[in-house]
Symmetry: C2
């Protein structure tokens, strides 16, 4: 009989912070030793952070990451360490996992399946590995196989790896698998079926935290060979999870386990991802305070709530910037949201500035009617004010646009799109309502007032303006957008689903014509299967409409 205590170090490294990441790994190794861990597992590219993107093209970056691995090996005298790093051989680089044991690098595995779709560009950098990697426990009664993320995602690849591995007892998978809505469920069902199919214990250790557009949700798990979950780490939090694996008469079983961290509800998991992504974007970029333009509408209210949960309400300022078109109701609502959240609230009216623009442009615009120009001017004045506050006080500007608006270009470039981080840019408007409902229920009080929720959406850039004057109702628009943007369904097929022909054509046209705006948008948290940004790479010059 042999017992191996495994630690799953679900950590949050920072891209490029090689030394800090190394120190964090050492802290977890120390903690593991204290808690009797024999084998500690760190995520994919834990040393560099994920994704390091074109940093990988720098020789010095790869060499510096190798130094960290060698230093970490010194800590493996009385604990075995698996850690993700960038390996370098004969001028090629590999997405790799090191086995550190006995004070040295005992072996290295190279990831075989490199994802190059969606947000992933791994074939831009890495050469695929060509062989599997196994190792034994000290008394040689348990055989482990190493895999990295995608290796187990493709049915073919998984089979290949596992077969080639000469029947391991335990398959370790180190991952940097980014979050989207329901991803944890998809992931767990893949892991479960693999564990059962190949009769192995699966130890899945995922990275956690935000990196630009991505949030890694962690949610590391251990599944036994019967397909039963024996450990589940919390979502979006650093954690050292511990399980014990026991071999007895050629059988390997999981003992001592902890499945107390339940899977979150779908709204809760989305909300937590938004908060995590926002927190890490602000803090990893060296900011500690943020400002949100509060219009009294539902989008900016939700954005403010997320920002407060991310960095503390004492660090978030709400700015109301009313114009002649702002109603008393929306201004009161903006103030009430700030009060409910306990944020500082400032008011800077924009009418005087708007008048000065109109006066300065009067000669050029003589004889012409007011149009979208004057609406955009208002939005851009607000953008400028927020950026001025940012410049003066070091507050990062959170923009408040949702995915439905940004899809349709129903937003002003350099106006409401101006800012450092677009918190809800991947959240469709209908989901904004659900999240607000979730937030209000969670805190068991109406943080975001009913009047904000009930008011028909309006940009308040001209008298009596309503979103629905320019856009289809969001309950109709959002399903069309999902089909077109996330599922690549053609106009003809969307119409067949029962939507109005003219409306569908108009929606598709607007989505495509507004790619130029999105190209200049700040990043925001990806929560759907296909977000704008690196996930959806569309040409700006694009005459295709179908």
């Amino acid at each position: 009989m042999e017992r191996v205590t495994i630690g799953l170090a679900q950590i949050n490294p920072t891209v490029g912070a090689l030394e800090d990441n190394g120190n964090k790994i050492v802290d977890f190794i120390r903690l593991g030793k204290k808690r009797g861990v024999d084998l500690i597992v760190f995520p994919e590219l834990a040393i560099t952070g994920y994704p390091p993107e074109d940093l990988l093209l720098k020789k010095s970056f790869v060499l510096d990451n190798l130094k960290v691995v060698r230093e970490l090996a010194r800590y493996s005298q009385d604990i075995t360490i698996i850690v993700g790093f960038v390996d370098h051989r004969l001028g090629e680089i590999y997405n790799a996992a090191a086995l550190l044991r006995g004070g040295r690098i005992e072996g290295v595995y190279h990831k075989m399946l490199l994802p190059n779709y969606g947000v992933f560009d791994e074939k831009r950098y890495f050469k695929p590995g060509s062989g599997s990697f196994t190792f034994f426990s000290k008394r040689a009664t348990i055989k482990f196989a190493l895999t990295i993320c995608e290796d187990i995602w493709e049915p073919k690849g998984a089979a290949l790896t596992l077969a080639a591995n000469h029947e391991p007892d335990v398959v370790i998978n180190i991952s940097a698998s980014p979050y989207h809505f329901k991803k944890e469920k998809i992931r767990e069902s893949i892991l479960l079926s693999l564990a059962k199919k190949h009769r192995v214990v699966l130890v899945y250790c995922n990275i956690v935290g935000g990196q630009d557009e991505l949030v890694f949700d962690g949610a590391s798990v251990v599944v036994d060979s019967a397909g039963v979950f024996r450990y589940r780490a919390p979502c979006c939090e650093e954690r050292l999870g511990i399980v014990e694996i026991v071999s007895h008469r050629n059988k390997v079983a999981v003992k001592k386990c902890d499945v107390s961290a339940k899977r979150l509800g779908s709204l809760e998991e989305i909300y937590k991802s938004l908060v995590t992504g926002t927190h890490d974007y602000i803090c990893k970029n060296g900011f500690s305070q943020a400002v949100v333009g509060l219009s009294g509408g539902i989008d900016s209210s939700l954005t403010a709530k997320i920002a407060c949960d991310a960095i503390g309400n004492e660090n978030v300022v709400g700015a109301s910037m009313p114009s002649r078109y702002s109603s008393k109701e929306t201004q009161d609502d903006a103030r009430r949201v700030a009060e409910n959240l306990g944020m500082r609230f400032i008011t800077i009216p924009i009418d005087r500035i708007l008048s000065s623009y109109c006066a300065s442009l009067a000669d050029e615009f003589k004889g012409l009617k007011e149009d979208i120009t004057e609406e955009n001017l208002q939005a851009r004045i607000r953008g400028n004010i927020l950026m001025a506050l940012s410049n003066k006080f070091g507050w990062l500007v959170m923009t408040t646009g949702n995915k439905s608006e940004i899809s349709m270009g129903y937003c002003t470039l350099y106006g409401d799109m101006a800012g450092g981080f677009a918190v809800i840019k991947d959240v469709p408007k209908t989901l904004v309502y659900k999240l607000v409902d979730f937030v209000n229920k969670k805190d068991a009080c109406e943080i975001i007032p009913g009047s904000v929720i009930k008011r028909p959406p309006t940009a308040e850039l001209k008298p009596n303006q309503k979103d629905e004057d320019s856009l289809p109702p969001y309950t109709v628009l959002d399903p069309i957008l999902k089909l077109y943007i996330e599922e690549d369904v053609s106009i003809g097929e969307i119409i067949k689903e029962g939507f109005d022909r003219k409306m569908v054509k108009d929606v598709v046209n607007k989505v495509d014509q507004n790619e130029y705006k999105r190209r200049q948008a700040p990043p925001g948290v990806k929560i759907t299967p296909r977000a704008f940004g690196k996930d959806r790479r569309f040409p700006i010059i694009n005459k295709y409409r179908a």
Copy 2:
């Protein structure tokens, strides 16, 4: 003896405009027939335009492109056609070349080497081909092999293809090879050595025109098996080039040729690429007029000149937006540049607007000194005015920042960075001077006045401001930026080249810290081996500095 007249159709398709591209191809086929062409060659992905990016993920897009190929086949009754398209087999797509002959698709070649570096993402979409493709002339005396772009760029790949091709007489390469400085020279030296090494005639047909950040320069060529250039198409222009190939007693020779189109000088080729990229971005996006903010400085002067050469001076408006810090000299120079170019010139002072912002922000900023905030406000007011003109009149805003500024973040987000197209964003400041000199000499008159060239660069956002107060001299800065950005050289190695340690560290820091600004910048023409944008994918959250 057999004669085959080959037409190289160096065309400028538009991404996504399948029907228009098909019609353009038919026009060239008709022209070819009229001029006695037996075999007409179109560039890589001529039907879809290049690069189609995520349009390739749409089934309907791929199917619609297949329809165009089938329609084109009908035109191949009395002419043989080679054309680039997207092939679709068993759920996979291929970057393909069709051989159309006798009214049908006689054969299809699949590109074997898929570039996935720099601006290229071909592995995101395509499966690589696995076999070569050859065909014979009508009387079977000349053997042709088909290749696509990258296939001949990698020494290994070329050898592979050609060897597998059982000694063809003529290798046709259809390309979509984007321009950068000196690329034509590099390309021609590769073609020359391949032709000689494998003793083949090389027919190289490249696409032409601008697509977002890229310019395709065309410069199609024919090289004979002795390594002599027998045809050269002009750079950046549509053209049907014609050569005659003759087989006689098992020897294949090139007759009737035209090498009158000389390679351009390096400044001329850069300038022509900038004009082409700007023209196509404006026109393919459906605009016909543009506006440039004219400061009287060298960057905006060059930008205006390029815009005028791209779409005609009658379609470009120069806007001067002076403040209290604008000198009489720069204002006069702005006007003089507009006059020299024959552009409309308008003046909209910004002081009144600036005062209204300062008044509105006075409470919040009470007791605080003026700083970068007030400088940025001026730049952003100008950005807003240009965007207001754009909204009201449909003028596309051309931004005027150069690569040196954009590298260092010496530019204002939503200010001078606001606009649709960043004409010289990949042109380092030292090259701006050279291009202005080139332009002045070319037109044999001082289009851009000497006073503009001689004045030390200044942003005029505070009294007596000079670029060199904040930045190293451009003659020192540009070489550092080239090493760091284009060649991935580390700080230590740059210092070894003889640059000041503190300066190098400061430059690298600024480049990395300002990634967030560049992420929100408009596209502009790539002219260096590594531009910002799709060519250089850096994380915003990035703690690596070395």
